[in-house]
């Protein structure tokens, strides 16, 4: 049911902390404690190392591909407090921009939906979240939300771009490009927070409280056009919580615990249609969860150690 189509030996000299495929599923980027990022071309079961990006002075925690609309860019964040934006030009990867304004390890980077323009959110252990906005000509404007999370921000994830109200009633012409800018962040204060840009300033829109320990990751589900927002968050308390908010019912968020695992949960990732959630954690297991028609969640697949897909 789930099949491994390619296995890549990354040749990293230390533990891998993130691996991401690009938009088209042609290139793979990995980052590791050995302070490098590696980019592979993956085709028909084979792999070819295209580039090794060196520039960080500490373990690289997370990477993110930009939308192909904005050429091939990769953002990376590291323990060395830096965020680096890399760009490919004629097969060569170069450092395009380096952002240095965090006071502690930067734990998460996430590109905004392409409709909002070229924008990057970064969450750091110094408790702040930065939003970098590209103004053309390699000018990056940084907006910093200080004290977004007491104790540190562990993850950021953008909401899909929607025009306000468009999912309930048809938008009028002049609203067409007026997308809502929203993202969700998770932190060491056990909170998940929803941020919304209003008049050029980032404001805390919601504070989602249910976890009892550090929230390690959060992910806003992609939208297929339904008037519902969905966020998954996972935590040191070993739980994954699904937060939903129906636009029609006035924007109240409700929470539902997906499952309690046997070790801390580090990571959640939504499939492109927002119905399958990949969960991974300290127990070295990856499981896929699917929402059933009655709204319950069930495990559809367990990707076990030894990395063989198995069916259930």
């Amino acid at each position: 049911m789930v099949s491994v189509i390619n296995t890549v030996d990354t040749l990293h000299e230390d533990m891998i902390h993130d691996a991401q495929m690009d938009y088209y599923g042609l290139q793979l980027a990995t980052c590791s404690s050995d302070r490098t990022i590696r980019i592979f071309e993956v085709k028909n079961g084979t792999q070819r190392l295209l580039s090794t990006l060196q520039g960080h002075d500490g373990p690289v925690w997370q990477i993110a591909w930009s939308h192909p609309k904005y050429d091939k860019m990769l953002a990376s964040c590291s323990y060395d407090r830096k965020v680096i934006i890399w760009k490919e030009q004629d097969g060569q990867w170069n450092k395009l921009h380096e952002y240095n304004d965090h006071d502690s390890s930067v734990n998460s980077v996430c590109w905004a939906p392409h409709e909002l323009g070229l924008m990057l959110a970064c969450g750091s252990s110094d408790g702040s979240v930065s939003v970098l906005k590209h103004h053309g000509d390699n000018q990056w404007e940084a907006t910093k939300i200080n004290n977004a999370h007491t104790g540190g921000c562990n993850a950021v994830s953008w909401a899909p771009a929607v025009v306000p109200g468009s999912l309930i009633e048809p938008p009028s012409q002049n609203q067409q490009n007026n997308f809502v800018k929203k993202f969700v962040s998770a932190g060491c204060d056990n909170l998940v927070k929803v941020w919304c840009e209003k008049d050029g300033r980032w404001e805390e829109e919601q504070k989602l409280q249910a976890h009892t320990d550090w929230v390690r990751d959060c992910a806003w589900a992609p939208s297929i056009g339904l008037p519902q927002s969905k966020i998954a968050s996972c935590s040191q308390d070993r739980r994954v919580i699904i937060w939903t908010c129906d636009e029609a019912t006035g924007g109240q968020w409700s929470s539902k615990t997906l499952n309690e695992f046997d070790d801390v949960v580090w990571h959640v990732s939504w499939s492109l249609t927002g119905d399958i959630l990949a969960v991974s954690g300290g127990n070295n297991k990856v499981s896929l969860w699917k929402e059933k028609l009655d709204g319950d969640w069930s495990i559809v697949s367990d990707i076990k150690k030894g990395q063989q897909g198995s069916t259930e």
Binding site: H12, M15, D57, D126, G151, L167, A278, G281, G309
Partner: protein
Amino acid sequence: MEERNNAVLIASHPNIQPGSMSVDATHKLAMLASRRYLTLIDLTEPNRVIERVNLRNKWDVSHVLWNPTTANQKYFLTTYNQWTDLWQYEENSCKKLATLQGHMRSISDADWSFTEPNILATCSLDGYIYVWDMRETKRCKLCTSSVVGASQVKWNRLNPYCFASSHDGNIRIWDSRNCKIAVQHITAHLSKIYSLDWSRSEEHMLSSSSQDSNIRFWNTREEPRSPEETINVGKPVWKAKYTPFGNGILSTGIVNFRETPISLWSLEETSQPVITYTGHTDVVLHAHWRKCNEVQNDQNWQLVTWSKDQTLRLWPMTSADLLEKNYDESRLSSNPLVYNLPSTTLPNLDVEPTDPASSASGSSVQSKEEDLHDASGFTPPTMNMIKRTKTNSIDLTSSHNLEQEFKMLNSQLPNLRMKHLDIQGRKSLLSLRTTTHYTDIHIMFPDAYPNNEAPIFNIKQSNMEQHEILNVTSNLQETAQTYVKTGRNCLEPCMRQLIAQMSRMSYMSDCDAEELGINFPSPFPSRSRQYSLFNDLKNVPFPRTTGARFNQSGLLVVFMRPTYVKGYQSMNEKTPRSFMGLFHHRNSAPVLSVTGFPRHIPSSLSHMTPRLNPAPWPDLSVSSYYYKEKRPCRKSLKFLYNPSVGSSPKESSIPTTNDIKHTRMQQVAGMVSIVNVTSILPISKTLAMKYVIPHNSYAEACRVNMKNASSESMQDLVQLWSYLSVLPSPTRLPPTSDKFNEFSKPSFAEHPTGAKLLLRVFKHYEKLFDVQTLAMLACTFVPDTEEHTTKQASPRKQLKPSSSYSSFDVFDTGGHLHKSASETKFSDLPSFIKSIARSPPTSETFLKSSIGRSREESPVDDYRFVEQPLLDIAPSVHEHWMVNSRLLLPEVQARCNDYISRYADLLHSWKMDSKRAETCKYIRKIQAVPPDTKTTTHNKIKKQKKTCVICKLPLTKTAVQCIKCGHGSHQHHLKTWFESRSTCPICDCDCFDNIY
């Protein structure tokens, strides 16, 4: 000035484990708390222990605190783990009165109220602060809660209701009359606050000290946004307390002997401390201002300090007067007094006292100096060491410094032995030893050391390999440089580093963990901003080593630790949350007694991890948290790459670089798998390729799609398309006047299997998140824009007659259906169908029997119900024909654009750009775009020049544009597009003829 008791006394208590200290309200008794015992000391005779209480429990006493009020001065409290004990000291004996229970996690602080003799507060990492009444010990009086655990709680000294608590870098002010929420929140520091203290004279003034090296002062009268004042001490501040006299503050640092541990600051002049007290060789745990009770003079205070070096020190009297005067003259503030007390065991050194310039300082200072010397009769013989000097000069004679430095080394590093020490010649020979390695190191100290002159390290004799020696020596030099640059002593950190490195080598040979050698750069890339290692580690989440990531095109990337790499944790233990966990794990010895982090390490592991001492920078990688299971195949692997191994075990511990590299990547970094999960996703790439949008030849297209679905064995989609194929074509024109009577006939849409069923279908697929089917449905049923329907029958409609389903007549269609139905077993059930048709609500039940089932379950046969004839339907209202004939209800229609555009994005990520452009045609603008005119054409071309209409990427390569509609595209896209079509990818413009 009257006679003062300037006793400078060092009372060494090697038997008392360092812990908390408290001085009682009479300023006479000091209670020292340690693991097993409470020790009571009379401060007039600090070497004598009055009373020793065996606690008989296994917990460390974290706090001991005398009641500060005179009414209840005989009471004191102790806290350990989650409990608080109340004690009474009377007639020379301590008696335990009660235990206060309530906290769920260990208590981080406790404080007696200064105004209410019976009230105390405790706070804990569990997030609660409890206020207790001594007379009611069963349960707490009040309780406040917060998400982040409190590390400090302090009562206001003047206001009986007010208390403050610190939560990481934030302060909350509470009112005990209303504990539900904090009165104020102060975002005070960037890092953890170590201490809070209320002013003794001003009700609203609060001081806070933090890891971020600042002492800040807050006025809590109004919600303070910024501190009233900040003192930057330059290093983390462990405690900052208001002095009971004058307007001063006493700060104690967290760092070790190299730094000045205690400083007295004047709040009028904060650029430099007034007095610094040096001498303690370890962290000062507690400092207390004590009034000498024999002399009832308010002006004289004595500082009592208790340090981790297990000495209790009583410092020279400080007169508040002196303090004030100094501020006025601001002489001492620029020329601070240093009381330098060498540790008792140091041999006397001949020290030339101070620069001559200082002898010109004020008389009060002079007299003080004399006082100090006078007091020598009372103090240990080392008293003649006391001297006054500038802190910033090197005058603290470097040889003495060196001596002290070596002294420290011996006591702190057990695996180090001094073979030879020549203080005058400024050189030494040290011998270091770990389980497997040993080395003799010769160190030469330049005269200027430690002021920008690093010592020279020379490894004399060692069993380390040559390259390791080189590596080790260069690391030592590097570390030494960073320290001496700022004038700090570097011997201890250097030796720690060396031992750490050597231990790691041993460790490697012990358990084949080469990857442990991969470190963060050390020292960390120099940054102007100074942040503590501990704070960093504490806040940085534990690195992920497993993960799964979806990408846009439906692939899942999975990375994991290899199966043979195991975590050190035991069965019931979670992976630590922060990097700190890793740190603790590597250093099983307690690191800091400041934080409440779990310090324990599974006992089973202690033999596996070397006891490394904290290095100046994190000398660790997450891979050190995991260990590899010994596997037989590993040996053969090693053999393969280093055939010379095998005979000598010593050799195997030093693998070649190649070997290391290979085994490392084999062992630490797991493989990254790319997993195809499309089979469990609701969408299908192959279907996307084959799907035809049913428009031109509606029914045929539906049947084609049905076949496609069946070839992909998507049963429910087969059913869906078979249902759709029997519906009348949705692209219908309104009846023309000559077919007037058709208005009176009910439209198909009104039938239960019409619009309502379609709505259910949409709802069903929404629940499945099947954006592909939704988009296809949307494309099929989305109505043409007004223009299209009215202006002309668009080119594709001219093709329509070829379809046998083009009839507008519902009954005709129904008749046709009937025919097709005969192919199935429909005719068996005419009466049943009739009943359904008559009662519309049953369409719901009908649906449940068919579509409501899950994809795999529902058999094809169910779908024969769809093909029911449209018989006895009540006549509809004439005027609403247009509205009623809509198959797509408006609530669904609003979302169609989203479905289509999301699906289009998906097609793009699959690189099916032609399909995508075709689909995008059905995105309907809500407001009609004004019809094109010649004049706007050119503007249009300009405007749309930027992106390709097919792949939506910027038009940079050869591009072609239509002169009429202005839509442009990459040449190669258009080539494939026009191979099969003749209209524009975006609109209905006949671009093929208009391209330029």
